[in-house]
């Protein structure tokens, strides 16, 4: 809390004051700009301090955050006048990277106020990402906000805005299934395995051959708790080496069929030009297994597993195309969840703006006075009910006296609030008053965890 108050706009010096703060964003992403433009506009994190300070020393800009990833560059700023602010941010981007604004403009999008807030919430929740609902962007946004704290370009509004954005992203992740269906082939294989076996902890995997996707799938299965991994490779040394990586058991390639009966999941990825697993073979295996199901993942091209085995009861076979189909279906399911996520975002924007509005000085003063008056009334009632000896006149006198005390106490804070509100630090005074006297008690309060992030 102290850190927030202190971290304010030391470098963002007060400009001409107006009453309201505006949040603006100017940015470009994979949707609006090709990689050639995006890389020109990126801000390396090692040297982010300089652009941040330059941004905040622009006229009319009080606070700022720059999010720069390979897919997007977003500049968030808090300004007193949003048209000038927007223009300043654009000018900053163009000046800093030495690209004429005309050239840049067609790739840039900009949002102000509610739309800017909504944009940040959507970005952090992965709704604006190339792969819908991907989680990395949240971490990148947290880092970017951290840089702003470090370089003192985050003030009270940015603090609240970003903390809110992170909590919204978290809420969306827990309340919707936006991130729950796999969008990579190797992970899709794991999910299918879970739809067949439920628990993977007592399952055995056999990896035949090598290859990036196959090894990745094996790794995912391992991290999902499979009991054992058998590794077969035409070159036994390679099998030994890979097995070491998976803490698995190497087996001789020509013997892999003998092991099939104790294996639940088979990942095949060899360079063999023909089928190496045949239906007759598998029919025997499944009989020996007493029909306990088997899941075959054939990642090899040309295919190594005869597709006929899928017709055998309790055998499930997926090749690369099938897995790709699963990924496509998962993305469709994510799009469905995205609708629920948008609803959450709209709800949270309302909450956020209720807070922004509370930073206005008038309602704060009203609430402050009401708070004192409530305390006074409560205490005086309690006290008077015990003082039966007093007559009406005495009671009135006591009442008047307490009123006078309250008015004197309240007078100075109110006067300062009114005076300071015309300055940039006004928001800090208002925020401090609201916290010190618990004026937001009825509303949901999320205290920013500045220490962790900063």
């Amino acid at each position: 809390m102290l850190m927030i108050l202190a971290s304010g706009s030391i470098y963002c010096y007060p400009q001409v004051a107006e009453t309201n703060m505006h949040i603006v964003v100017v940015g470009l992403s994979h949707k609006t700009a090709p990689i050639e433009i995006r890389e020109k506009l990126s801000f390396p994190s090692q040297t982010i301090g300089e652009p941040l300070n330059r941004l905040c020393s622009s006229y009319g800009i009080n606070e700022g955050v720059i999010i720069s990833t390979c897919n997007r560059v977003e500049v968030f700023a808090v300004t007193r006048e949003f048209e000038k602010g927007l223009w300043q941010v654009k000018k900053f981007l163009s000046d800093y990277h030495n690209i004429p604004l005309q050239e840049l403009d067609e790739h840039l999008y900009s949002h102000t106020s509610e739309d800017a807030v909504k944009h940040l919430f959507r970005v952090c929740s992965g709704l604006d990402s190339m792969v819908l609902g991907e989680p990395q962007i949240l971490g990148q946004a947290k880092d970017s906000y951290g840089y702003s704290l470090q370089h003192h370009t985050a003030g009270v509004i940015i603090n609240k805005l970003f903390h809110k954005a992170f909590s919204v992203a978290k809420r969306i992740r827990t309340e919707t299934k936006i991130g729950s269906n796999a969008v990579s082939i190797s992970y899709a294989a794991v999910e299918l395995a879970k739809k067949i076996f439920s628990s993977l902890t007592d399952k055995t995997v056999m990896l035949i051959g090598a290859g990036e996707m196959a090894e990745l799938a094996a790794k995912h299965l391992l991290s999902n708790g499979v009991q054992e991994i058998l590794v077969a490779n035409r070159t036994y040394e390679k099998a030994v080496e890979m097995a070491r990586g998976f803490k698995g058991t190497p087996i001789m390639f020509r013997e892999f069929t003998h092991y099939l009966k104790r294996v639940d999941i088979v990942i095949v990825s060899t360079a063999a030009p023909k089928y190496i697993i045949h239906p007759e073979q598998i029919e025997d295996v499944i009989k020996e297994r007493k029909n306990r199901p088997m899941f075959f993942i054939d990642i090899s091209v040309p295919r190594n597993v005869d597709p006929q085995i899928n017709n055998i009861d309790n055998i499930y076979l997926y090749n690369v195309d099938d897995l790709q189909g699963v990924v496509a279906a998962n993305l469709k399911e994510r799009a469905k969840e995205a609708q629920a996520a948008e609803a959450i975002i709209n709800e949270e924007i309302d909450k956020f703006y209720r807070w922004v509005k509370s930073l206005d000085v008038v309602p704060t003063i009203v609430a402050l006075k009401k708070r004192f008056e409530d305390i006074r009334k409560g205490e005086i009632e309690k006290a008077l009910s015990m003082m039966n000896a007093l007559n009406e006149k005495d009671k009135e006198a006591i009442d008047a006296m307490t009123k006078a005390i309250i008015n004197k106490i309240v007078h100075n804070p109110v006067a300062h609030l009114k005076k300071e509100t015309d300055k940039v630090e006004g928001d800090f005074y208002i925020e401090a008053a609201r916290r010190l006297f618990d004026l937001d008690k009825e509303e949901e309060q999320e205290l920013p965890k500045t220490k962790e992030e900063g």
């Binding site: 309340e175 299934k177 269906n181 299918l192 879970k194 739809k195 067949i196 076996f197 439920s198 628990s199 007493k290 029909n291 306990r292 199901p293 899928n310 009861d313 309790n314 499930y316 997926y318 099938d322 189909g325 699963v326 279906a329 998962n330 469709k332 399911e333 469905k336 969840e337 629920a340």
Partner: protein
């Protein structure tokens, strides 16, 4: 009073059915919670229905067809609730709700008056026999629903075109395991129900076994489920085969029960 509770129950199960369908369409986790609350509410009123009818009839309300169908529906729901407590597979509720609704709606079309039992039938064996029989049937109904769910999920996985219910249904393994568990409960219950039925028959008619249609058909059902249990335990029947078998067996069970009631065959028809 029991009639009022009864209709509240019908409405609750109807709502649960609609909400369940909404869940299957929209995939929203909040919806399934609402559906399960509706089932729970229905169950509470259903229990009140049975208790109040018990008092109003001054006997166990397990005699006429209206009563036993209501009991059957109640058994299915309580078994589901127990499974839910243990395994937390809420999606089963979306299949239980329509079945509970179907059973109780059928009951609602049947004569609901409380008819006193013939004194010859009054015995404490009646509630024991009937409740055990329908608890067993409740488990078999569950294997039927789980079988359907298994076939749906298996179809998605086999056809390699995932989508729709694939995302909602649990794994094949869980469905198969639950179905097996239900069978291991249902089968002994059916066995005990047949024994208590025979004792009661002896008490009322003076003969343990008279090959009347109800008895014959329960014996047939008993053999069907005995074969399934045997197949599962020794031959390794599971998955698709066991699912189809569970579905067919339950349809035979329900079909024979309906036939006997409709055509009033045999001694059990006295309760009609």
């Amino acid at each position: 009073m029991n009639i009022i509770f009864f209709y509240i129950t019908v409405i609750a199960y109807l709502l649960a059915t609609f909400i369940s369908i909404a869940y299957l369409i929209f995939h929203n986790d909040k919806v399934i919670k609402v559906a399960n609350s509706a089932i729970l509410a229905g169950f509470v009123f259903h229990t009140l229905t049975i208790i109040s009818r018990w008092f109003e009839a001054s006997r166990a309300p397990f005699a006429n067809l209206h009563e036993v169908l209501s009991l059957f529906s109640w058994m299915v729901v309580i078994i589901y609730l127990l499974i839910y407590l243990r395994y937390k597979v809420a999606v089963i509720g979306t299949f239980v709700a329509p079945l509970a609704f179907l059973l109780i709606t059928t009951a609602s079309f049947l004569p609901k008056e409380i008819i006193p039992l013939a004194p010859s039938l009054e015995s404490y064996w009646l509630p024991i026999h009937v409740s055990l029989a329908f608890l067993g049937n409740g488990f078999f109904a569950m294997t039927f629903l789980l079988g359907i769910m298994y076939l749906i999920q298996e179809h998605y996985l086999k056809s390699r075109k995932v989508g729709g219910l694939y995302f909602l249904l649990p794994s094949l393994d869980i469905l198969d395991e639950l179905s097996y568990k239900c069978l291991t409960y249902g089968f002994p219950l059916l066995t005990i129900a047949m024994i208590t039925g025979a004792i009661w028959a002896e008490y009322v008619w003076g003969s343990y076994w008279s090959w009347e249609p109800r008895q014959t058909w329960s014996l047939i059902t008993w053999f069907l489920y005995a074969a399934l249990l045997h197949g599962r335990l020794t031959v390794g029947w599971r998955g698709r085969k066991a699912a189809i078998y569970s579905i067919v067996s339950f349809l035979i069970l329900v079909g024979s029960f309906a036939m006997i009631k409709i055509f009033s065959w045999g001694a059990h028809a006295v309760f009609k």
